[in-house]
Amino acid sequence: MFTIALRMLTRDRGKYFGILMGVTLASLVIIYQGSIFVGLMSRTYAVISDMGDPDIWVMDEKVSFIDDTKPLLDTALNRVRGVDGVAWAMPLYKGVLRARMPDGSVQNCNVFGIDDATLTGGPPAMVEGRVEDLWRADAVIVDKVGAETRLAKPNPAGGPPVPLAVGDTLELNDRRAVVVGISSNTRSFQSQPTVYTTYTRAMQFAPRERRMLSFVVVKAGDGADIGALCARIRERTGLAAYPRDRFKWKTVMYFVENTGIPINFGIAVILGFVIGTIITGFMFYSFTADNLRYFGTLKAMGASDGRLTAMIILQAFVVSFIGFGLGCGLAAFLGTQAAKNSPLAFRIVWQVLFLAGCATLVIGVLSAMLSMIRVIRLEPAVVFKS
């Protein structure tokens, strides 16, 4: 009977594709919007992700997220280094400084000052030059996207701007900086250019304040319990210490709780769900209504309500499954194509797929329920009505 149910569904091409379209559209919208949301949220902690080595981030206890720097006294670094279980601890400056371009234009940049000796916390990958070139005088490394867009130089010939290149100079807070390398970074949420330099040089670029140290990044010793080490750092220094993933999550939650981003994307996702449910429900109900005479015939011939219900559930499950698969494929294709040459944030994670799958299943169940009620209430005697 299940084969019969599938034949009834798939051989009615018009209705079948209509139902599939509804489910596909719903899962496409949910996955697409969900993945953009995840992509955007991932960008909020791009700095933490790119700085792969540290296990623990130490900061002022009032810090809410990665861009919310509340500088520490330089002595904090040594206090952290003195905690048991810390393999190493390095200073990190993070600030926003103005870069003046040769044509006089000004652009805000995210400037990172990393440990002078070890260069820990440097760019995740280099496109041109080496991280060690930061040891040269006035050296900075600029991220590729920043170099090609906001920091690009005007073209004297009037064409498109010329990307900032190794050897070019710019002014950071009225101090000369020489580009010694181009790095490949994860795009950040604000999309500002990222500039790396040494911690000492960052102190020279930045306006002098009593407290300049933004974070202390920590590597735990072999076999150390990260959670316990964080607790010890908090206890010994009075500073906040978070494992890397926890700090990422804290950053994401700040944006979730304090911006309208989740609401905007949530509305799009809910709209996708509702529209998908309406289209699918209508088409599925219409499919059942068209086949009511035949369901009545099956009922008259002895098919039980349970079996007919199982047939409808199977039909709904199959269209949900196929529609979900098509939605996944379409979303992945469209998203990756769109993100290829644009700043679109698009990241498919299993959680989005799982939620979209659940939503699609709910759509299928809701659609099937209407049909099931209709079939269960159907008097088999209807088959004798012409």
Partner: protein, 276 residues
């Protein structure tokens, strides 16, 4: 064995001049034979709606259908024929009276038991054929076996065999829309027969067919009814097929007003009391 329909030159006859088909066509008990009753209804009532809009479709019907006979239910539109076969087939609950079908009283069975009973014992032939258009004709015929829980392969094989017996063995993979009306009705009859039911109810099986095709369909039904333990109840308006009946029960206004045998005589199993 092929149950291929043969052209029959018999003319249709009015109800009161019926003669039964030739003895060669049937090895059933002769009409009027007091054989076991496949269906036994007494005082069956059914009302649709309530209050002023209530319609009393059956007003105390008595009816016996004997094992092995082809009984036709005739009468004007709205007289209760379809309601009566719906009750007899167990697809509609009666309001009152008694009705025993193949020894079972549907009123005493749960919905699931009734469905299972129909799946085992009842075959249906509909006016509009009711073949599922998205299935092949073999799949359509296999449906009763699938409902009964037979494996798909076995069911399809049995369906193909049945279709071969009605002369459609070369069309098993066609969709119903590719067949003529007569061929579709033969598929529907195959579907009604494939699970070897003991009762077949037919609702206007020839009304959507031209005369010649209708005759062939009735010949087919007549030939399958020759199986001794199978009873057929055929609702029809079509006087041209009366000649195929063993007995004819005439209904009017929710009553059976008379029952005649193939010779046009009132029978002993007459249910004139239903017309009181």
């Amino acid at each position: 064995m092929t149950i291929a329909p043969e052209r029959d030159q018999r003319r249709s006859r009015p109800l009161n001049r019926m003669t039964r088909p030739s003895a060669a066509q049937s090895d059933r008990p002769p009409p009027g034979h007091p054989g076991p009753a496949a269906v036994r209804c007494r005082g069956v009532t059914k009302t649709y709606g309530q209050g002023n809009s209530a319609v009393r479709a059956l007003r105390g019907v008595d009816l016996d259908v004997r094992t092995g006979e082809l009984l036709m239910l005739v009468g004007p539109s709205g007289c209760g024929k379809t309601t009566l076969i719906s009750v007899v087939a167990g697809v509609l609950d009666r309001d009152g009276g008694e009705c025993e079908v193949l020894g079972s009283d549907f009123a005493r069975l749960s919905a699931g038991e009734r469905a299972a009973f129909r799946a085992r014992n009842v075959g249906f032939v509909f006016q509009a054929f009711n073949l599922i258009p998205t299935l092949t004709i073999a799949e359509n015929v296999a449906v009763p076996l699938l409902i009964a829980g037979r494996p798909r392969r076995q069911s399809l094989d049995a369906a193909k065999e049945m279709l071969a017996r009605v002369g459609l063995g070369d069309r098993v993979n066609d969709e119903p829309r590719r067949l003529s009306g007569g061929q579709q009705q033969r598929v529907a009859i195959s579907r009604a027969l494939v699970h070897a039911p003991r009762l077949i109810v037919c609702d206007e099986p020839t009304s959507a067919l031209d005369h010649a095709t209708g005759q062939r369909v009735m010949e087919l039904l007549r030939s399958v009814a020759a199986r001794g333990d199978l009873s057929l109840v055929v609702v029809t308006h079509d006087q041209r097929i009366f000649e195929f009946a063993d007995r004819i029960a005439e209904m009017d206004d929710g009553h059976i007003v008379r029952v005649v045998d193939g010779e046009g005589r009132a029978t002993a199993a007459h249910s004139a009391e239903g017309g009181k």
